[in-house]
């Protein structure tokens, strides 16, 4: 294949496994999985600027030609493509699908995710015939089908995988780390962990239109500025993780094409430990929220590349929509902040420390610096702590940090999912260590709510609670800046924030 049909991608991350089920797989690993494996279903996409964005409300078949949901919402039937084969030429059957789904719910990490869609046990997957498989649910979980479209429930060549399974390792995780048993659009022709991956197109792929690029080379280049230079000089075709400053500069020099899409399922936040004084008082949290220099932060950290999540005007204390994340009614108002602080019994302020992780320093450092400066004005004395990534994870899990910034994404951006994952429970993802009975009730119910209007009402209430109690202050949704050679087209934003090579083309 020619250079023209080869796509050279540079990334700061690294692929560490070919198996999405591996514990500790990187985000780039997910991205690779997306391209080399198929799932039963996927989402449709819609145009956004120069690129596309996935449409969370519209699902379509991928390996399944079609699927139907029973009226009670408890049974989903998938009809598989009849002509699809794995890379080794063997046909893809319901057997493979069943084994793959069993694997997804049985492995620890993927299992937890699948559980959010009430997919918990292999008993739920039933082979109807060679090309039909049925999924049964005990409750009509609205996230059941979407969960079948995330990166975990990929369809593996079960015969091949089972050959490498052992008694201790029935799901062949060891072997699949470095080998693939797939039928996806691309196959891995060379894989050097942490350095580069070369993908070749699988010409017999049936689950979608044949991709344009015959070969994809993904290289790890840790220095962001070097990645920018590579794209600018035309040596590389695509990078999705450049620094905002480089993106602006490249754009200014008009050397490249920049597709900028707000990450609709992600948000940057400032989190409080709601179980630790003084942040156990919602008034203190609100005071901080009103003291934040949102606009300056947005400019300094992101060069305004993203969508703000502050500054909403709520008429009667309720949002207009139940979508989340959305703008919350906070904005910079130091007088109000001071008043709230006094009301909470801290008229003179207090001392605290604010943490962020080293890996996100490019955006977090300006946030921290501006926050420190601004909070000083209402008497809060902030010490900034830059924490290595591994340590940050532990500290957050153990709920030891009083005050920090993090960014988060939810693969399935429905309101109840957000509130379930990020606003309750004992996991690391409950950044605010938040406990709220009303919210717990609302989310538990909304999950199985089949009436859109009732769901909407519940969702609005959840959003309102987030604003009232402010366990975290939402800052913004950063934009994903995909920087590419001018002749590359078809970039799509996906929930996993990785590139789908299947939809890319090079125009002449």
């Amino acid at each position: 294949q020619s250079r023209e049909e080869t796509l050279r991608v540079v990334t700061g991350g690294q692929v560490n496994s070919l198996d999405a089920g591996m514990q500790g797989i990187t985000r780039d690993g997910f991205g690779l999985n997306w391209n080399i494996y198929d799932r039963l279903v996927s989402w449709d996409r819609k145009k956004f600027g120069d690129g596309y964005i996935y449409d969370f409300d519209k699902m379509k078949g991928e390996l399944a030609e079609s699927f139907t949901i029973s009226d009670d919402g408890l049974t989903v039937t998938f009809n598989l493509r009849k002509d699809a084969t794995f890379h080794d030429g063997s046909p893809i059957t319901a057997e493979d699908v069943k084994w793959s789904l069993d694997r997804a719910v049985s492995l620890k990490g993927p299992g937890a995710q699948m559980g959010t869609g009430s997919l918990k046990s292999p008993d739920q997957f039933k082979i109807v015939d060679d090309h039909t498989i049925q999924v049964t649910l005990d409750k009509p979980d609205r996230l059941a089908v979407p969960n079948l479209a995330v990166v975990f429930p990929v369809i593996l060549n079960s015969d091949l995988a089972k050959e490498h399974a052992t008694a201790e390792d029935p799901w062949a995780t060891e072997w699949l780390k470095e080998n693939q048993a797939s039928g996806g659009a691309y196959k891995v022709s060379s894989f050097k962990a942490g350095q580069q991956v070369v993908l070749d197109r699988f010409d017999d792929w049936k689950s979608g239109p044949l991709p344009y690029f015959k070969r994809i080379i993904v290289q790890t280049v840790p220095e962001a500025s070097t990645r920018a230079s590579l794209i600018e000089r035309g040596d590389a075709d695509l990078s999705i993780d450049l620094q905002s400053s480089d993106v602006l500069a490249l754009k200014g020099r008009d050397a490249v094409k920049v597709v900028s899409i707000p990450q609709i399922n992600a948000f940057q936040m400032i989190a409080f430990n709601t179980r630790m004084a003084p942040f156990d008082d919602p008034r203190v949290r609100q005071a901080v929220a009103y003291a934040l220099p949102f606009d300056d932060m947005f400019t300094a950290a992101l060069y305004r590349r993203g969508a703000p999540l502050w500054g909403a005007k709520w008429e009667n204390g309720l949002p207009d929509t139940g979508k989340f994340p959305q703008r919350l009614p906070f904005s910079t108002n130091l007088d109000k902040a001071k008043a709230l602080l006094a009301e909470a019994g801290h008229p003179g302020g207090f001392k605290t420390s604010f943490s962020f992780n080293v890996g996100s320093a490019a955006t977090s450092e300006p946030i921290a610096a501006l926050l420190k400066e601004s909070l000083a004005k209402i008497g809060i004395d902030v010490t900034v702590e830059k924490v290595p990534d591994a340590q940050m994870g532990t500290l957050i899990s153990e709920k030891k940090l009083p005050f920090f910034t993090e960014s988060a994404i939810a693969w399935l951006p429905s309101a109840d999912y957000f509130f379930r994952v990020f606003f309750q429970g004992e996991t690391r993802w409950n950044y605010g260590s938040f406990v709220d009975e009303e919210l717990a009730e609302l989310t538990a119910k909304a999950r199985y709510e089949r009436d859109p209007a009732a769901y909407e009402t519940a969702a609005r209430r959840m959003v309102a609670i987030a604003a009232e109690k402010a366990p975290v202050v939402m800052l913004w949704q950063p934009a994903l800046d995909a920087v590419m050679a001018k002749d590359i087209d078809g970039f799509t934003y996906w929930f996993h924030r990785q590139t789908d090579y299947r939809s890319l083309t090079r125009t002449k």
Binding site: D296, T299, A300, E365, E373, K386, Q391
Partner: protein, 282 residues
């Protein structure tokens, strides 16, 4: 220091312009470190996003950074911290290393053997990685950068002091000190170590530069000084990533400060070494 000694230093410096210049620069640096915060035209921490990333101008001589902070003021104010880190680290490893190394060199025997082994262990480490691991393990704070830098410098001081003391341990004046009723420790601390000092000065000044670089390297991978504290290493590490974006002033000025400082200490150390070389003394 007697006037005669001062005079001698004066002579020597006059004969070696590069060293003299380095010494003068070092003096200026120390002065800046002391009065820097007082003469900085702007508050080094005050941000003003409206003027972020403006090139050098009459108001902001070195331009502004991405938060609109005045780079000139930040570079000035950072002098104290950077020299502080370097001096503290070097002072620590010097004090401990000289004492241990001197004792090992003078006492010999088992103590010497054990310290020798420990030094071997530390030396066998890839030192920068050791520093990284230490800072990561002890906590990401300035003190820990100081400790880590001190620890990785330690073996050199121990070895050096040991060797220097070892060659002197049987000299007449050491024996004379013993005959005069000085115990081992007195001989070591009152006689031997003060004599090792001049040669140590060389090591110290070379090390000062190296410590600053070490701190900068740690900053580059995100370990060390906490923001928003101005520090050259962080400014350079952050600015270096802007090289291609055209905001050259964000890296150029802190970088120059860093390079000039390290250069100055290195040249000074180098000059000192020449001065102490008996061949160069007349």
């Amino acid at each position: 220091m007697s006037t005669a000694t001062l005079k001698h230093v004066g002579w020597v410096l006059r004969g070696n312009l590069v060293t003299a210049a380095a010494a003068a620069a070092a003096l200026i640096l120390v002065i800046i470190a002391i009065i820097g915060p007082a003469i900085a035209p702007h508050d080094p921490l005050a941000s003003n996003v409206a003027i972020a990333l403006t090139p050098p101008s009459a108001d902001n001589w070195f331009g502004t950074d991405r938060l609109g902070r005045d780079i000139f003021s930040r570079v000035l104010v950072a002098t104290r911290l950077d020299l502080g880190i370097a001096i503290a680290a070097v002072a620590l490893s010097f004090a401990i290393g000289t004492a241990i190394g001197g004792a090992a060199g003078y006492l010999g025997g088992r103590f010497d053997k054990i310290t020798g082994r420990m030094v071997d262990v530390v030396m066998a480490f890839p030192l920068f990685v050791l520093a990284m691991a230490l800072v990561a393990a002890l906590g990401n704070r300035v003190e820990n950068v100081v400790y880590a830098t001190a620890i990785i410098n330690l073996p050199f001081y121990i070895r050096f002091a040991r060797a220097e003391v070892n060659v002197r341990r049987e000299l007449g004046w050491v024996e004379a000190a013993r005959a005069s009723g000085n115990g081992k420790m007195a001989v070591l601390f009152r006689f031997l170590l003060p004599n090792v000092m001049p040669a140590m000065m060389v090591q110290i000044s070379l090390n000062l530069g190296w410590s600053i670089l070490n701190a900068a390297g740690l900053s580059f991978i995100g370990l060390g000084v906490q923001p928003p504290t101005p520090e050259w290493g962080i400014m350079v590490a952050e600015g270096a990533r802007f090289i291609t974006t055209g905001y050259w002033w964000t890296v150029a000025f802190p970088g120059l400060a860093l390079v000039a400082t390290v250069l100055c200490f290195n040249l000074l150390g180098d000059g000192l070494r020449d001065m102490l070389d008996p061949r160069m003394r007349t």
